[in-house]
Amino acid sequence: MGEVQRGPEQRKRFVGKYIFSVDHKVIGRQFYFLALFAALVAMLLSWVMRLHLGWPNVQLPLLSTLSPAGAPGGVLTPEYYLSLLTIHGTLMIFFVLTVAPQAGFGNFLLPLQLGAREMALPRLNMLSFWTTFAALGVLLSTFFISDGPPITGWTAYAPLSAAGSITGPGEGMGQSLWILAIALFCLGAVLGSVNFIATTLGSRARGMTLHCLPLTCWAWFLTAVMILLSFAVLLAACLLLMMDRVGGTSFFLPAGMVISGDLIHRGGGAPLLWQHLFWFFGHPEVYITILPAMGIISHILSCFSRKPAFGYQSMIYSMMAIGFLSFMVWGHHMFVSGMNPYTGFAFAVLTMAIAVPSAVTIFDWLGTMWGGKLRFTTSMLFAIGFVSVFVTGGLSGLFLAQPPLDVYLHDTYFVIAHLHMIMGLAGTFAIFAGTYFWFPKMFGRMMSELLGKMHFWLTFIGAYAIFMPMHFLGFEGNPRRYAALTDNFLKPLIPMHRFITIAALITGAAQLLFVSNFFWSMFRGEKAPDNPWEGTSLEWTVSSPPPPENFSGGTPVIYHGPYEYGVPGSEKDYVMQNSPEKIAGG
């Protein structure tokens, strides 16, 4: 294409190029920035939550201007705490971890790694982004309506979420907007996934057999399938919930409810039905957040170990098994809900079964490093950090998977520790690893390694400092979603909460290092070469950033698998996928 032309056309071009673009590289970056923005907002919310948990009476002057009702005099009300919690969880799970690793990196890299010019359906792709964008707008708009965001957490259990404003602040308009936002998000995610699948199946370069696909592509593909199957169910659930709220139906509202003294004239609904529908989506969803992360980590570990990804095939089979089994374990979130205990036990066994492929992935990552020549770039450090927190978080899952233990641990901070370790941290570590890795390709410049390493150390140590103690809170029986600790047995835990708050503030501040590194490098960083990390997959064969048509010389032709590092007898220690060089032995 060449330089941007200056002229009267320029404005229109800008809009077409960066706003309503159909270029997968632009859309990928748009998704990425959306996730980054959501993450920063959600992180700020977690700061306020943490401050309130450590010092319930602390005055935050800014807050009272932001929300006079939610924080009169700058002191958070209990209901506003729950509002912040809901938005924190919703943003993080949906708009950060479902967006960045899949829609962000996926959109940018999938065609590049497949050797395709574009996503299969570019306009659908654009639609997917703008739907997601609208969803984010609707979600955040709840902050600016009179009764504030909903207070039901990211799980929105009925009937609390179904009976309307009578059940509490935020349950009027706020909850309805939340449902609308999630419904829009479902739509956007499904549209994007359709595109991912069509692209992976239909737009691969010559020679790019399924056995030559990088693990990232496999992960994006399998995740897309899971999104397709699970988000539709959430959409159905949202539809029914919305009907209960505004249509006067009673899908989830049982007969004879008396809420704050008022008899609700509805009949016969099933509150547990919501939980079944929600978790049928919800459990696959947590793996939807982690599968792309697994792909990214495998990719990066292999590159910086200068060694073929150990167990390429077993990794694929594990991801398939995880994807498949994840639709059969939703009941493990409902052990104490009053579900049939025999069913509960069946869910426990299946849950343990899904831990097996997860353990295989860990083995594969360790195997990749074993015998390698490890290069400790920032990206690699975050990948290593990922393995560490994934093990920690996965092992706490083994407690929760046993019904008798979950009876004690359910809805305590132990679960909070589990979900942050394995999802919050592992997920964001993968995003960070991917960012440091692909930033040169995405923006044509290198990030600062020095700032990056500082960011890693503070985040890694900080992460353990925040979330390891939460396990202990769980042992003590500290329930989650508590706006303050007033019970006698909880009061002694306040110092621990303060420690966690301080750790969270420091760790959060460390993210500013990342953000400033990011934006500084975007404009001022060193110019990136085509293949700064000596990687083998196709994205490294093109310039940084890639030209609009991706492969300006025509379709690449693939001769090798994606992880030919350390090939004996080869001149360099890596053989690129499109290199016609023969590999002896193999």
């Binding site: 104490v336 009053g338 036990f345 393995v387 029986g477």
Partner: protein, 272 residues
């Protein structure tokens, strides 16, 4: 850098393991007869996961240190997929993990597959935003019917009883504290007036949701030992997000001797 991260990983492992084995922040005493089984299961799981935790984290640390690029040239080991090793590993993981699931089966069965023993003391536990009520059937051993339309907290008719008309309701006793005798099987029937709540007493190792429109029975026996801690008084907390007051929705469980319990119930009956 490789050394640094190996050291930090080792430190994290050491600190985590020692804090856990120091039991400094730990479970409260257990005062239910099924408690020891659960605690035992906890211990086993701690040992099992602890071993994997140490092995995996230290293994990671070792690999990082051992295989760091020492800048001496040469290449990494060219290795793809040793199939036998993988199959072995997968099978081991399968057996261990699924075995763990079956280990907990007996405890779970004891808690949930069977109902309460006959002759257990039956008590209804009611949750509402944001309070607890407990109902004893009184001398006739029967709970009177509930009329949602009559529920009125300001009149003190928390559960919507129609005492003038319903025979079975007449002697029902509604309390704000859950009083139980030690060493006698108790069956709780959990019910909710409005949204979902959850009944949790850490010392009983027991948690169950209260779902509106459903009746959830659970059963347990408090040990004699329950009388000895905190005067037999334990906090009942709500652990299912139920609205703005969720964090302060609590009541007390009072474990008493059989004699004291009878007295207490009489007192409460007189106050109805």
């Amino acid at each position: 850098m490789g050394l640094a991260i190996a050291v930090v990983l080792t430190l994290i492992t050491a600190v985590s393991v020692s804090l856990i084995s120091a039991h400094f922040w730990w479970f409260p005493v257990d005062v239910a007869t099924h408690g020891p089984a659960i605690d035992h299961l906890f211990t086993l799981t701690f040992i099992f996961t602890g071993a994997i935790f140490v092995l995996a984290q230290l293994g990671l640390a070792y690999l990082i240190w051992r295989y760091r690029d020492r800048g001496q040239g040469g290449k990494a080991t060219y290795l793809h997929e040793p199939a036998m090793l993988q199959v072995t590993w997968t099978l081991i993981a399968l057996i261990l993990f699924v075995g763990l699931a079956f280990m907990g089966h007996r405890t779970w069965a004891h808690m949930h597959y069977t109902g309460a023993q006959p002759g257990a003391l039956r008590i209804e536990v009611w949750g509402e935003q944001f309070a607890w009520y407990f109902r004893y059937p009184g001398p006739d051993g029967r709970f009177g019917p509930i009329h949602p339309s009559l529920m009125d907290d300001s009149m003190g008719n928390y559960l919507g009883l129609d005492r003038p008309h319903d025979q079975a309701s007449k002697d029902d006793i509604v309390t704000a504290t859950l009083g139980i005798p030690a060493d006698r099987p108790v069956q709780l029937i959990l019910r909710s007036k409005d949204v979902i709540h959850s009944f949790f007493v850490p010392e009983l190792r027991m948690k169950q949701d209260l779902v509106p429109g459903m009746e959830m029975p659970i059963h347990f026996t408090a040990t004699e030992d329950a009388l000895n801690h905190d005067g037999g008084r334990y906090e009942i907390v709500c652990t299912q997000l139920c609205g703005m007051g969720h964090y302060k929705m609590r009541a007390f469980l009072q474990v008493m001797t059989e004699k004291k319990f009878e007295q207490w119930l009489k007192q409460e009956a007189a106050m109805q």
